[in-house]
């Protein structure tokens, strides 16, 4: 028996979200009185794999072959399913990010394993196996019971604190065979953002709405984000207008994020916007309208003009960092 965590890598490197998954998996394994196995697919160095040990990873299985160079959902499903069966996994945990969303549902059918996505807490109980998951776009959470022997969880990013439990991880290289005829995804073109803090990874996000008035006013907002080590985001009208890139659009139809701190500047707080940010631990709002709905969900607010307030915030952060 085991709990299997799939740790995605980005060009051979792990991120905080990988360690978050391992910390989570290690606790789930404890709850089930069993052990944790981490699976890494692709070319990752021993040194990088060993890092999983800091967060409770004891056994690490590496699968690396020519078929896993491109994310083909069928190939990845096949690899994870084979390892899950071999390790007699009771729970398979992946991140609720693009790759997790692409692969986990296929895995659910392949293993006939019930799946809960967008999970943000440890299992509420192990018998029946009950998970706490996001529903109605953040307006409610469900206690979802998974009835099958194997369970699949995708964990919301930034929903679980890292727990340092250092141990010396053992790395095994698996020799499972992958059916090459499954590879059917051909990449024609690839654009990767390197070095940029991803919105979904960020612990602090500074976001602007229509109240920013025009594309030209973004300077102080970007500066504030830079000073805080934050990522930038925006509301839908802002990306629709082309003031900011579509990658920054948060909400119901954009990205769903859960940073520790979300600073909403000139954003009214429409339900569809809140759907993407309501799981943030702290929300700060800057808005000229004291009755704007964003203040109902904010813990700190400033009623004022964004363009006057932002420079003051930048100055205060710079002062603090001195």
């Amino acid at each position: 028996m085991s709990v299997l965590v799939y740790t995605q890598n980005w060009d051979g490197r792990f991120k905080k979200s990988s360690f978050e998954l391992v910390s989570y998996g290690s606790k789930v394994a404890e709850m089930l009185n069993t052990s944790l196995v981490c699976l890494s697919v692709g070319a990752v160095s021993d040194e990088e794999l060993k890092k999983l040990g800091n967060w409770g990873g004891k056994r690490i299985i590496r699968v690396d072959n020519d078929y896993c160079k491109v994310l083909d959902n069928q190939v990845y499903t096949d690899i994870i399913a084979q390892i899950a069966l071999k390790e007699d996994a009771r729970v398979v945990i992946m991140s609720d990010n693009s790759e997790g969303k692409a692969v986990a549902p296929r895995l659910s059918v392949r293993l006939k394993a019930g799946m809960a996505s967008g999970v943000s807490k440890l299992p509420l109980s192990v018998n029946p196996f009950t998970l706490y998951k996001r529903t109605y776009s953040g307006n409610a959470f469900a206690h979802m019971v998974v009835n099958t022997d194997i369970k699949i969880i995708t964990l919301s990013q930034n929903s679980f604190d890292l727990v340092e439990t250092p141990n010396n991880a053992v790395i095994e290289t698996s020799n499972i065979t992958v059916d090459g005829s499954l590879v059917r995804t051909v990449v024609k073109e690839s654009q990767k953002q390197t070095g940029k803090l991803l919105l979904t990874d960020a612990e602090i996000v500074v976001s602007g709405g229509r109240g920013m008035k025009s594309a030209d006013n973004w300077g102080p907002l970007v500066e504030l984000a830079g000073a805080l080590g934050a990522a930038t985001a925006c509301s839908r009208p802002v990306s629709d207008e082309g003031w900011r890139s579509h990658e920054e659009h948060t909400g119901q139809t954009g990205k769903v994020i859960a940073p520790n701190l979300y600073i909403a500047v000139g954003i009214s707080g429409a339900t569809q916007h809140l759907a993407g940010v309501s799981s943030s631990k702290y929300i700060v709002a800057v808005n000229t309208d004291k009755d704007a709905p964003i203040f109902e969900v904010a813990q700190y607010g400033i009623v004022g003009d964004a363009l006057k307030v932002l420079p003051k915030l930048v100055e205060a952060v710079k002062e603090l960092k001195k």
């Binding site: 967008g118 529903t135 119901q252 603090l320």
Partner: protein, 249 residues
């Protein structure tokens, strides 16, 4: 080429959700039901492709698993421009159940391109599309923000964590679509509404399948502390509070 668009019937996105029966069921009083926003956009994109003769799209069909009460949502999709539809007559018990039902009909009717939304705004599952593909043993491409058909083969733009790729896969395949797939949802014209009444909706009885999950109870998010207001003249005070009180920076 035949395109299938899977649609889910969800409460309007501005709904303030409430629950009844000891928080086990959604209170449906006064709820406006709409086509799930993603599915509306994928329907729009399917129709755009059909309008372009070079894409070679013969028909756009809408698929839905649900009880007769969701018939108006199907009619709305037909009014927007889909050619026909099928409905599997069953309550959508969970994603696995729904995907199994869709796959069973797709095996009979055969489609080349199957579109699903990246999530439904009610259960936020992000599961149905991938599950349908696995049931059928066909490729799936997830987080698709653009679909083109060039010389009879698909070019899909997909978002990956930290970038995007343009990929191709052989047909049939499932594309799980997200933001960007179409700009604005297409709306029904008067003529569309008239003709939708006579468009065929095939009815299927469900296959024997059991859901793998169930929802025991719903919980509203815990209320947040009231907002503390800071004088705009002294805005820098916010940063001090975030550091010393919230301890978040």
């Amino acid at each position: 080429m035949k395109i299938l668009v899977c649609i889910s019937n969800v409460p309007d996105t501005t709904t303030k959700v409430k629950f009844v029966d000891s928080d086990t069921k959604l209170d449906t009083t006064g709820i406006q039901w709409v086509i799930n926003p993603w599915d509306e956009l994928s329907l729009t994109r399917a129709l755009e492709l059909k309008d372009d003769p070079s894409a070679g799209v013969k028909s756009v069909t809408v698929a839905h698993v649900g009880l007769p009460a969701s018939e108006p949502t199907i009619r709305k999709a037909l009014a927007i421009g889909a050619d026909d539809a099928f409905r599997v007559n069953a309550a959508p018990a969970d994603s696995y159940f729904v995907a199994a039902q869709l796959a069973a009909v797709i095996r009979k009717e055969q489609y080349d391109v199957i579109l699903c939304g990246i999530e439904s705004s009610d259960y936020n599952g992000s599961m149905t599309g991938g599950m349908v593909a696995e049931f059928l043993g066909i490729p799936s491409v997830s987080a698709v923000s653009d679909i083109k058909i060039e010389n009879g083969s698909p070019l899909l733009t997909r978002e990956i964590d930290g970038g995007r790729e343009i990929v191709t896969v052989p047909m049939p395949f499932v594309a799980i679509v997200q933001k960007g797939i179409a700009k604005e949802p297409r709306i029904a014209s008067m003529r569309g509404i008239m003709t939708s009444r006579t468009k065929p909706v095939r009815l299927y009885e469900p296959e024997a399948e059991e859901p793998l999950t169930g929802i025991k109870v719903y919980e509203k998010p815990s209320p947040r502390a009231a907002c503390k207001f800071i004088d705009p003249e002294n805005a820098g005070q916010l940063i001090t509070l975030l550091q010393n009180e919230a301890k978040i920076i």
